[in-house]
Symmetry: C2
């Protein structure tokens, strides 16, 4: 089966009518529609997407932009896959496909995005890893491309996004540690311009000050959010003259490296140093001692992202009425053994 033309000839019907019949347009006879659908089914005809896209100016494809250095992906754990899966559960209901657009690490994300948009290969975009000022957001807003961001940003005033509740987590973690008697609490953050680290630290600082604990910049450890970063973080912690009694990790995967480095120096996590982690943490349960960790459902996050995006696309808006334009995604504390001790008992 080649195209709609062959199908039309086979039925002795004009090509226009066939198209209308297939697309459920009203002005076509019941009986003809039945014949057309039957023939299409029989001959296995499906409309060529390129032709359709060209004519209608829409591709039925949603782009998901991710940064794709080997390192990033390996550290990313199943974060993206989990989200992707939720996204697809929403999209497939509308026959939308998901295109992964990995921005090479040596290219400017903004330029990459512009190129992909200019190619007219997607109808809408999902961007992640938003920067504190992120030109992609201005660009998409101005170009009127529907999009949703996984992460806040200072760029543009009002765009749809979902972001993790960094403030809530930092706040909750600090409160919890203080309640356990801790006064010197370290925290890790990425050194990049990603907005995420900034919010995290800010909230940490405010929580401390609420308890009249002075913010000590030397307790903010700037390392990569990876296993190796955790190792290095532990290393730097151990070098501090006045060692903290607790540490908050911005990414639970870091705990692995951190534990290792600590043990090498005979420092026992959960006894000599309290540790609290963050983000989806299936691994946290298997560490010894088990990691206290804030977690969430990546799948649900993906579903929410997908819904928010479609609510911003004229063609699908009606399916998702009245959704919020911004969501702070809550996380739930899973208490483990890594911070389950009273610091008062320490020397």
């Amino acid at each position: 089966m080649k195209g709609i033309r062959q199908l039309a000839e086979h039925l002795n019907i004009s090509i226009g009518t066939v198209s209308r019949a297939l697309n459920g347009k009203p002005d076509v006879n019941q009986e003809t529609r039945r014949r057309v659908l039957a023939a299409a089914e029989e001959l296995g005809y499906v409309a060529n997407q390129s032709g359709r896209s060209l004519r209608q100016g829409e591709t039925k494809v949603i782009g998901l932009m991710i940064e794709s250095s080997k390192e990033t992906v390996e550290n990313a754990d199943n974060f993206f896959l989990g989200v992707t899966s939720g996204l697809q559960s929403v999209f497939s209901r509308h026959q939308l496909d998901l295109l992964m657009l990995p921005c090479p690490s040596d290219e400017d994300p903004h330029e990459y995005l512009k190129r992909m948009v200019a190619r007219r290969i997607v109808d809408a975009m999902i961007i992640s890893d938003t920067q504190r000022v992120d030109r992609r957001i201005d660009f998409l807003s101005r170009a009127k491309i529907p999009f949703v961001a996984l992460g806040r940003s200072l760029s543009a005033s009002n765009f749809p996004w979902i972001d993790l509740d960094f403030e809530g987590v930092a706040d909750h973690a600090v409160e919890r540690l203080i309640a356990l008697g801790h006064r010197r609490i370290a925290i890790t953050a990425p050194s990049s311009e990603a907005n995420l680290g900034y919010l995290f630290i800010e909230s940490y600082r405010r929580a401390l000050e609420r308890h009249d604990i002075a913010f000590d910049p030397s307790l903010v450890i700037r390392v990569r959010s990876s296993e190796q970063g955790g190792y290095q973080a532990a290393h730097e912690l151990l070098l501090l003259e006045e060692r903290p009694t607790a540490v908050i990790l911005i990414y639970e995967l870091m705990a692995i490296g951190l534990y290792r480095r600590l043990m090498e120096s005979g420092v026992m996590p959960g006894r000599d140093l309290a540790v609290i982690g963050f983000r989806d943490a299936p691994r946290a349960r298997f560490l010894q001692p088990s990691l206290s960790c804030f977690r969430m459902s990546l799948y649900d996050l993906g579903v929410a992202l997908g819904r928010m995006l479609l609510a911003n696309m004229p063609a699908y808006r009606d399916f998702y009425p009245g959704g919020e334009r911004n969501i702070i995604w809550p996380l739930e504390l899973m208490p483990g053994e890594s911070d389950a001790f009273d610091v008062g008992a320490m020397v």
Copy 2:
């Protein structure tokens, strides 16, 4: 910037020449080409992909078909993400995009694939989770769509695939356990028609028979390859009248549930029961006792898959000459504590 027409008008050049200039065709003047490229850069022109696809009959998109039940994805760990990342590193070099095609769990994968192919939305396919007889393979072969499979199959005689070395792993694991004195060795396998389980069990059976140990069907535990499946596997193991001293898991994630169930009955893995796992196993290191496990690099696997696919596409063949058409992907044993005891010491 709308289209090539506007660009041509802006330059006072015919649209045909502009196209040739942009696409590096030979019959265009050096100076004109320079001007065209400069103007395109300045005005941010990028060719519309739908128009191009329609004309050339190729989309520059590779489809990756996955099954997308919520359960599957959550259990899949970062398996697909790891592979995806390797794939993209190959594809992005050729400006190819990767489209994820999640087959709804309530639809026949074969029908789904046919529809996607008929839409002409991809130039080539990667399929995974191959069944023992898999109509998708016959279909793709007959339709002459370039593809590569992650997994063997009995369908079609000669198609490109990469598969994990199930035989090698089962063989190696059995040999290792026998050397440690074990005689009753259980094994888990999925109950589905996936080819993978079949090969795994066959190799296990042959390894046993090589050592004159009779194959006991009751030692083949049919459970899902998930954490819950591991729990259930342990449950069934404990019910056996003559309890095995070792178990081989077809998926390392199962170890988590298995450990839990065993401990509930006071059976200590690594002391009362030897356990060996399989597949990429970042988590295995964090179990207590640490899991002996066969592992591999998902990224490298993705790269190999991508290369093999391109080697089968006329337009890219020249870049990847002389590759093999089939690869049995080797895995490496990472010894842990979960099988590090001599069964002779047991009662």
